[in-house]
Structures are given as C-alpha cells and as structure tokens.
C-alpha cells in the first residue's frame, strides 16, 4: 500500500499567486523522503495538506489510502508530526504534555516513552517554558514517536538547534527507522542531514516538483557543468536542453545542472553547443541546491 499519495495538488493563499501548482508525488512504506525547496517553496503547505490541517484547492491526497480531511482522526492516529514552529503549551509540565498525548493515542508505548525521556535527560516536572529550544523539540519528538506512527512528518525539525542537538535528533529518528520501519517525510535546510537520512529527495521549485530521485542517483547521475562564457547565448542554449535543470551565470563561467552523469553532460554540450572545454563533475546536494535555487530555468 502507498503510504502517502498526492496527485495534482493545487494551493494558493492569494489569488494568482500559486504556492503549489500541480504537485505529484507518492511515498512507499519504509521510505525516507527529504523535502527540499527555498523558503516559501511550499514544503510546509504540502506537509500541512498531508496532515489534513490545510485543504488543497485542487487535486487529491490519500494517506494510508484515506482522505486526511474526511477521516482526520483515523489518519492522525497513525502519523507523528514535529515542526520547527510547533508550540507546546508553556504552562504545562513535561509529564503533563506526555500524559496528554498518551491519552490521545491507544497505541502509546510507555516503555519507549520512559527510554526516550531518559536518553534526552528531560526532567518530567520541568515546565515547558523553562526548556531550551533543543529540549522542547526533543519533547515534541518523544510525543511524535511513542504512539509508533506509521508515518513521521517532520517540518524543519532541526531548525534552530545546535549541531549536537541536531545529531541526537537524527540518531533518534534513525533508531525509530531501524526499530519499526517508520516511513519518514521531512523538510530540512540542513542538506548534510538530508544526505545522511534521506533515501530519496523531492525538491519543490517554482510551485512544482523539479527533482524526485534517489539520493544515490543525485550523487552519481546528476552533474554540474562549468561552461566558459563565449560564445554569446550559451546560457539560453544550455537551458533549452531538456536534460538541463537550471543555469546560473557567474563571473567565471556558466554553471549548469544536468540530470545526466558528468561524461554524458560533457558529451551533450560538445554535441549540441560545439563547446569542448566544459568541465563536468558530480556534486553534493548543497552545491546542487544552490545552483538550482539561485539560477534561472
């Protein structure tokens, strides 16, 4: 069964300014999908639609085969959600927040809850408002994990955390993955975290899905070409190639991202543009993201 299926999703908040315009993607059980895109690209909107917190204006969403808007309780019981902007009630104590979640979810695992609280060194009697940002996020993760969700939706979960807190958060998510095979969809601006955790990367750009590939494909079968400036019109000619995802004109050269490996990219540039001294190579996610997000297409 497909865990999450989004078909032709449309959503805007102002008429004529679409945030999502025909977004398609689906997630299979056990997959870990990293959702990328610039600020405002629609990652949060997409996750909120999956949660049933927001209604799409066009297209269809199925979570576990159910409509999250029509069957919100059935869907939410099987989802764990952590967001950078999640607000836990500050006047409550940690154990009260945990107790609240425990009462909402029949599948709550007390053993796991105690184990995580111990690992995170969270004092049960501490008030939420006295916790650091990292500790509050750990409480949120504990609450999202202990009912053993089939799908974990994480919206910029590491936002504002220091490097060690981020790593601990990552390790806890990885453990959940090993233990229960939870499916994870997470958005993050920390691209090295995406490279560690994600098996697949979906990048939203210009209101659509621009990239939907396995992380290994992105590393091995995508490339960045550095193409010398002459002759005039090089960037336009590169953009016209269907394999080209975007170009960025820099002082040194035109940088172009291709969805083919470096050897094929160089051969293509030679064949179509007659340029023989382009440099083509594979790249990490961060570099690729910057070239695409900062360029034109």
């Amino acid at each position: 069964m497909t865990i999450l299926e989004m078909r032709d999703i449309h959503r805007s908040f102002e008429p004529g300014v679409p945030v999502l315009e025909g977004v398609d993607f689906s997630v299979d059980p056990g997959e870990v999908v990293g959702l990328l895109g610039r600020n405002g690209a629609g990652k949060t909107t997409l996750l909120h639609i999956a949660m049933g917190m927001l209604h799409q204006q066009g297209g269809s969403v199925k979570v576990f085969g159910l409509d999250p808007h029509r069957q919100p309780v059935d869907v939410k019981r099987r989802i764990g959600f952590v967001s950078e902007n999640q607000i836990l009630p500050g006047f409550l104590k940690v154990h009260e927040v945990i107790e609240l979640h425990r009462s909402l979810f029949p599948s709550w695992d007390d053993h796991m809850s105690r184990e995580l609280a111990e690992r995170f060194h969270i004092r049960p009697k501490a008030r939420i408002k006295t916790l650091s940002k990292g500790q509050a996020r750990q409480v949120a993760l504990l609450c999202a994990l202990c009912h053993k969700p089939e799908l974990l939706l994480l919206d910029e979960p590491a936002g504002g955390l220091d490097a060690l807190a981020r790593r601990e958060f990552l390790e806890t998510s990885i453990q959940a993955l090993s233990d229960t095979g939870t499916t994870i969809v997470f958005s993050s601006h920390y691209l090295s975290d995406v490279e560690r955790l994600a098996g697949r990367v979906v990048m939203l750009h210009a209101s659509r899905v621009l990239i939907d590939n396995s992380i290994d494909e992105l590393h091995e079968s995508f490339s960045i070409a550095l193409v010398p400036h002459r002759p005039q019109g090089t960037s336009g000619a590169l953009l016209a190639l269907p394999e080209c995802l975007g170009v960025r004109v820099r002082s040194d050269a035109v940088h172009a991202v291709f969805r083919i490996d470096p050897d094929d990219a160089c051969a293509l540039i030679t064949e179509k543009l007659g340029i023989t001294d382009a440099l083509c190579r594979t790249a990490g996610l961060e570099e690729m993201f910057i070239e695409i997000a900062g360029g034109e297409r």
Partner: protein, 130 residues
Amino acid sequence: MLIVVDPSSGVPVFRQVMDQVRFHIASGLLRPGDELPATRALSAELGVNPMTISKAYNLLERDGVLTRRPGKPLVVAALDAATIELEKIEQMRASLAEAVRVARQLDVPSEEALKIYGELLQGEAEEEQS
C-alpha cells in the same frame, strides 16, 4: 573498525562504506573471518539511514567480499592471499585512474606524469629511510 563518511562529498554514502571496507581488507586491517558491525549499530554511529548500510553490505556480499551467516554478524569472506593481492591492485588502479583523469584535463604528457609518479615513490622511500 574505522569507517568515516562525508555525506556532502558527492560520493554516495553506500559507496564510501563499500570502498572503505574493501580498503581495510586490502590493507590487512580486516582479515577473512573478521566480524563487521551490525547494520543498526553502524548506521547509528555514522548517523546515516540504516538502508544505506544494508545496501553497502548487500553489494559487498554480492561481490563475494562479505559472507552472511544466519542470525550472526556478517564476516569478511574466506578470501585467499591471491584475491587480497588482486584487491590491492584494484585499489591502486582506482586511485591512479583519478590521477590520470587530472593529467588529461591539465594536458600533462604521459612521460611527465610517469616521472612525477616515480619521483613521489622515490621521495616516500627516502623518507622511510631517514
């Protein structure tokens, strides 16, 4: 066992793990019969998706480098000395192929490239003596 990964290097993490296991076998750090860390433990230590580690292990098993035993940790396969010697040569070949690529890009003539290689070997040898 020493495995480190750099997820941002542009080389897939599963390949980094595979390369390092093979390197450790070639260098003798890992010997036939030695146990490998469990998928779960290694993925937690490296902070990477467990599926990445199982992919690396599965491919190494397919290549005959690792042996799976039911219910027990994976071990380095019973490779004979000749196979390990071949593995060393493979490692060298891969490393030198990268140097050849750079030489081509910079238009360094073959004789010059060979001379540099000879000088570097010589230099290393002298350093060891001193």
